[in-house]
Symmetry: C2
Subunit: 768 residues, 2 copies
């Protein structure tokens, strides 16, 4: 663990365990000045009711905030009846926090003044910066200079502000102050903050902190996650993001947080990046949003794909700790909604609790004869509050349940409010998670309020309840996996660039231990050796040569520049053979009829050679064709065809993809992404998430593949990917896995030497 | 069309166009007695406030219902102050409708009395029938006898009743009466009706009719769909079903309805039927819920998979006709929610409208400079009602938009109610569909009410709006496809059982024209000939023989009972060949090592024979092994492997499945179901919905398959399936499709002679 933490660097320096650390480099440095200030000044405070400067001052005063708030205004003696000061120097004390809501053009100077005066934190609400174009970006850059010069912490610009309900601090122009609670909300959209605050008021949801981050000139989502990790009030984070910057620090902070507390995130703009022309299958198949998925998963973040799902999950997080297990019992006064809840649960791979015999007996003794005699526990349409209590007691006490969803439909004899009180009481007396779905309109409203007041997360439909519940279950499952010890897989890497060319390590732990970023990369030297410059498609045999250096088996690949030479090479390898076109300009060889399989004799090879050359002339007339490669024919029928690839993502750096391979690969979209480095557990999870997992395990009489070697190959590939900053995209397609081992039958690298320096390397900071 | 209608029989007889029809056989016969009664009697009317008999009478009187309501009670002179009568004969007039809420045991006699007295319709609210077990089922059967004897129409038993808001008729024990509107609601869950009524009251949703169908002793969902098809008040149906009975009539009624008006359905119990042990891939892959999907699709019914999605869609149906096209414009006062809406739209394969140049120009002239300059139209956080109006006008008038979603977040300067009024006004002045998402809590509530009052469907999140919108779009698309003329595909069936063994038809229209249910089935005769009795697995060569009779090409299949004979047969066919085990007891041949491919000479064949026999002895020691079949090796590399299968579904009868084939078939779950018969359009839609559709069309240098012949094969197979009542399951796996044609390489039939009579044949009634 100590090793992990040490390796988890951030842009502000080492996270922990270092005695020489400069506190100003900590990501959470001086954030107390923003979230727990004593003295606050408001630049641009105003009496004009429609202005931001009015709202901010109004929100700060008259609450129970335990500090001093001073308006700064050089034209007025007082604002809203409060003594005003002309500038920061005129203030009676140096403020901890300054809130700026003056026009954009004035902000750089004011921030500079704050820095000079020794202010700790600044919240810039003003808009008109990089979100509006170049002129704004220039202003924002000027602020950044002041921020760095004076080591200021800045939230914004272009944000709604910050709320800290436990301190009664509303440093924003939001209309309302939520209750104090345990959820920290971080949002990249200010407008959405307004909606969430308004919704939270209706639902009675409380927050520990509420932050609109705006343009994130200084304080990032990652800084906030780190800060809230140490905050005793915060038990979970709800995150709305549009894009992540500084992925390295974000992943590191999120991973640290989710070890003990959940993060739920909605990421918008799933289709923002249009598909770029990609030179590899991996490039085409691993879209930017898919990489977010992989990164969130690696960081233990639960992602929701609907915004109301984020709200629903937030409501549950606000009211209860994650359940101790996945087994859900359903209690209902109507059969239909019970089935609806069951459908929702099973659709999301949840577990319908099986009630114990003793619970069933107890229910038999207190319920009418026609109750459902199982889970869902249908206690019938005429159920009273008393019957709900009677039924809940044995179900909550049953060791075979982890949580209970109570569903009510307002039938003729139903008293939704009395039942809400009964359920609220039962929930209070139990440590188990209780959720509710009160289905209807006006006649269930007061019942919903009663449940919410009793701390029971209550929904308008069983599906919403189940969906929120399943996010908590998934968080728990992920955390278990995180703490699971990976099985040791013997790894031998023929080459480790940072140490010696032939170092051998015997397990993944050793590997982690010896792993160092290479001082001079193997790939760089290889590419220099090949005189490869600029973006370029590497030949199949060069691509395979790289794999061989990393211990990944490839088929032997000889070159032939004529039909006669091809025959010679085929005899060298032994029949049957495969011919593939050799051209620096042809990316997808099968697309131009450039692959001929299963050639069994000299005549076949001659015909095959000519066929390939003619196809290329016809279908790719402009391509430079060197000849063909000759390879032994590998019997694919005996194995499972996979694609193993990598690409550089603009946000998260290197990404690994594994999926079902072959020509049809893209049709089925059976693939999964992961971030390097991988260990046994992570590599196995990637494979398990494939639809073809049963094929890999052995299926319908076919033997399973050599799983150890396949997992090893993924791990080796992940280390290659970590080394290979110059490799923009890489495909092994197919990688054939058999009972005996794995074999890369084809490989294709897209190289961008110049890009080598521009990618982040967040993987260095991912402990495995 | 006349032909279609004639063929659409129902259990009550011919739907239309017959002069000799007995009106009592019409599915809608006497339903007016229930939905438009003048005289109503209530059996079991009561003064006891907690009783159903109290609620029903209370609900019927004191509304503006324009008729006479009489309590029937043999112990009281009056109930709720209204003159009561001791029995049906004592009533001043014979009632049109009797509502029964007496204990279950009394109901059969009362229904008999009603029938004898000449009552037209009965609603039985009482519970305690088949839903409670055998005793109840016996009582229900007694009611059915009376129903048939007197040609009564009965709704229930075990239901909430019926509401007909346009007639101010509340013949139920539901607490509230919804507004009169255009949506007919049919629900198999009474409790859910309570929730929906309550919700509808909150949202201000109106209904034309509201029916809780209960146990459907007589009046079925299908009868109601037919009835509402003729009802001028009903513009759409919202359906909650748990299971369909009489699938034939249901499909026929739904298809007729959806030609002009939409049906949206939620079907619960998706996982109710546990997977049964299936003897074929098709059996394993085509679950009961998947068949519902196919049936709903064939009937033009839009299915929702969440109950609140049903509500959301109902709200939209209640407020607006389906849009004229799919192009959605989004107007918003915040960027984030605009992106959320776009994500939701694209996820659901919607179309983001591209604004015309002139619309952009108009927007430029009236919006602030920083507006988004495209769709979504972000009119910025300080947008007023006036700016919303200015922006909506050009967007609604743009010929390149079909509908507009307006999103509001309650920001500092926002007036949600004023903007609601502006949007409501704009919506009223446009024929285009306008939806709204007012995101928040208390501060948007009055705005939502204003929008709802103005007839604008309003949601709490953009996703809910988009999801409801997309159901209407999908309905429109389906309807277009329904009216599309199928392309003619030349079909030659070598055998039509009902006519002559060699009739040739030249197009699908001819085929439809000559199609008659076979008097004596080919399959029956074939099976008698083979002396096959009871459930049984048909041999590969018998299964292929059947396909051949239907004109589906199969590989030649010879039998060999020794290695020597296998060599002889291989020489007869020519090398390379395939050997497959021949055993009446082995279902999945590859599972027991029973298939050896690509044998190239006599020695290979001998070895292969012995290998297969030994594998079988080891892996299936109890199976009777006759020998092997010998077949020519078919080069699969040159084609796409499909699986084409059929099964008998307990609800919908014969079902056809087509999917990606090969050993991996079940992993990828790339399959689609359809109901026979198929025409060119339906067969093509099935293929188009496969993930492997690009492979079939030609992909990455591989040629496309012979689509005409593939479609023909599906059509031929669908006619075989229609013939083959004895075939319980059938697999062609693989069916290989190439550039040149298709070929069934393996076939497997599971036969159940005794089952032949028990399946419905809904396909006879599906016009294509």
């Amino acid at each position: 663990m100590a090793r992990d933490s040490q390796s988890e660097l951030t842009h502000r320096g080492t996270r922990t365990n270092s005695l020489t650390i400069d506190p100003s480099l900590m990501p959470t440095h001086n954030l107390d000045k923003i979230f727990a200030p004593h003295r606050i000044a408001v630049f641009g405070a105003s009496d004009k009711r429609s202005s931001v400067g009015y709202s901010v001052l109004r929100n700060l005063i008259g609450t129970e905030f335990d500090g001093v708030v001073c308006p700064v205004n050089n034209k007025r003696e007082a604002v809203q009846g409060i003594q005003a000061y002309p500038n920061v120097d005129a203030l009676p004390h140096v403020p901890d926090l300054v809130i700026v809501c003056t026009p954009a053009a004035s902000v750089p100077y004011l921030v500079h003044e704050c820095g000079r005066a020794g202010v700790g934190g600044v919240i810039i609400l003003s808009a008109g910066f990089k979100e509006t174009g170049n002129d704004g970006a220039v202003l924002e850059e000027e602020i950044r200079v002041a921020q760095k010069d004076y080591d200021l912490r800045i939230i914004g610009p272009n944000c709604l502000g910050v709320l800290a309900p436990h301190r009664k601090l509303n440093a924003s122009f939001a209309a309302s102050m939520p209750d104090a609670g345990s959820v920290a909300l971080i949002s990249q959209s200010g407008a959405l903050c307004d909606s969430i605050l308004d919704w939270a008021q209706k639902e009675g949801i409380g927050f520990s902190h509420f932050v609109s981050v705006g343009n994130m000139l200084d304080v990032s989502v990652a800084d906030l996650i780190d800060y809230f990790n140490d905050d005793p009030h915060t038990k979970s984070i709800v995150l709305y993001v549009e894009s992540i910057t500084n992925a390295r620090q974000f992943l590191s902070a999120a991973r640290a947080f989710t070890r003990t507390k959940p993060i739920v995130a909605y990421k918008s703009g799933r289709f923002a990046e249009s598909a770029k022309a990609a030179a590899s299958h991996t490039g085409a198949m691993a879209g930017a949003d898919d990489v977010y998925d992989a990164a969130f998963q690696r960081a233990g973040i639960e992602r929701t794909f609907e915004i109301d799902e984020l709200f629903d999950t937030a409501e549950l997080l606000a009211r209860h700790d994650p359940p101790r297990g996945p087994r859900l019992a359903i209690g209902t006064n109507a059969g239909g909604p019970g089935v609806i809840a069951t459908d929702a649960l099973i659709t999301r791979h949840g577990v319908l609790a099986e009630l114990s015999g003793s619970a069933i007996q107890q229910l038999n003794s207190c319920l009418p004869a026609y109750w459902s005699h199982g889970n869902p526990v249908d206690i019938l349409g005429d159920a009273t509050a008393e019957r709900f209590t009677d039924a809940l007691d044995p179900v909550l006490n049953d060791e075979q349940t982890d949580a209970v969803l109570v569903i009510l439909t307002p039938q003729a004899m139903t008293d939704p409010s009395a039942i809400a009180r009964a359920v609220g009481d039962a929930a209070k007396q139990s440590s188990k998670l209780v959720l509710a779905a009160w289905m209807g309109g006006p006649s269930v409203e007061s019942g919903i309020e009663i449940l919410q007041a009793a701390g029971v997360a209550t929904y308008s439909s069983p599906e919403h309840a189940v969906r929120a519940f399943m996010h908590l279950v998934a968080y728990g499952r992920n955390r278990e996996l995180l703490y699971e010890t990976p099985r040791e897989v013997p790894i031998s890497l023929p080459f480790r660039s940072a140490n010696s060319d032939e170092s051998k390590v015997s397990s993944i732990d050793d590997l982690t231990h010896v792993w160092q970023p290479p001082r001079t990369g193997l790939i760089s030297r290889f590419l220099r050796h090949r005189s490869v410059q600029g973006q370029k498609l590497l030949s199949e045999q060069d691509s395979k040569a790289i794999l061989t250096r990393y211990g990944i088996p490839t088929t032997r690949t000889l070159i032939a520049t004529s039909a006669r030479k091809a025959v010679h090479q085929a005899n060298e390898l032994g029949y049957p053979v495969v011919l593939k076109i050799l051209s620096p300009d042809i990316t997808h060889k099968t697309d131009v009829g450039g692959v001929v399989l299963n050639l069994r004799n000299d005549d076949d090879v001659k015909r095959g050679y000519n066929e390939i050359i003619e196809n290329a002339k016809r279908l790719a007339p402009d391509a430079r064709v060197t000849g063909v490669t000759v390879q032994p024919m590998f019997e694919r029928d005996h194995g499972v065809e996979l694609i193993l690839g990598a690409k550089q993502d603009a946000t998260f750096g290197s990404v690994i993809m594994v999926g079902t391979g072959g020509t049809a690969a893209e049709c089925f979209g059976d693939r999964t992404l992961g971030l390097p480095p991988l260990n046994e557990r992570l590599a196995r999870r990637m494979l398990e998430s494939l639809k073809s997992w049963p094929l890999l395990q052995g299926y319908r009489g076919r033997p399973g593949v050599n799983m150890d070697e396949l997992i090893q190959t993924l791990i080796k590939f992940s280390y290659f990917v970590a080394d290979a900053q110059e490799i923009q995209e890489f495909d092994i397609n197919p990688l054939v896995a058999t009972q005996n081992g794995v074999m890369a039958l084809d490989a294709r690298a897209v190289v961008d030497n110049e890009a080598a320096t521009k990618w982040h390397r967040p993987f260095e900071h991912l402990s495995i």
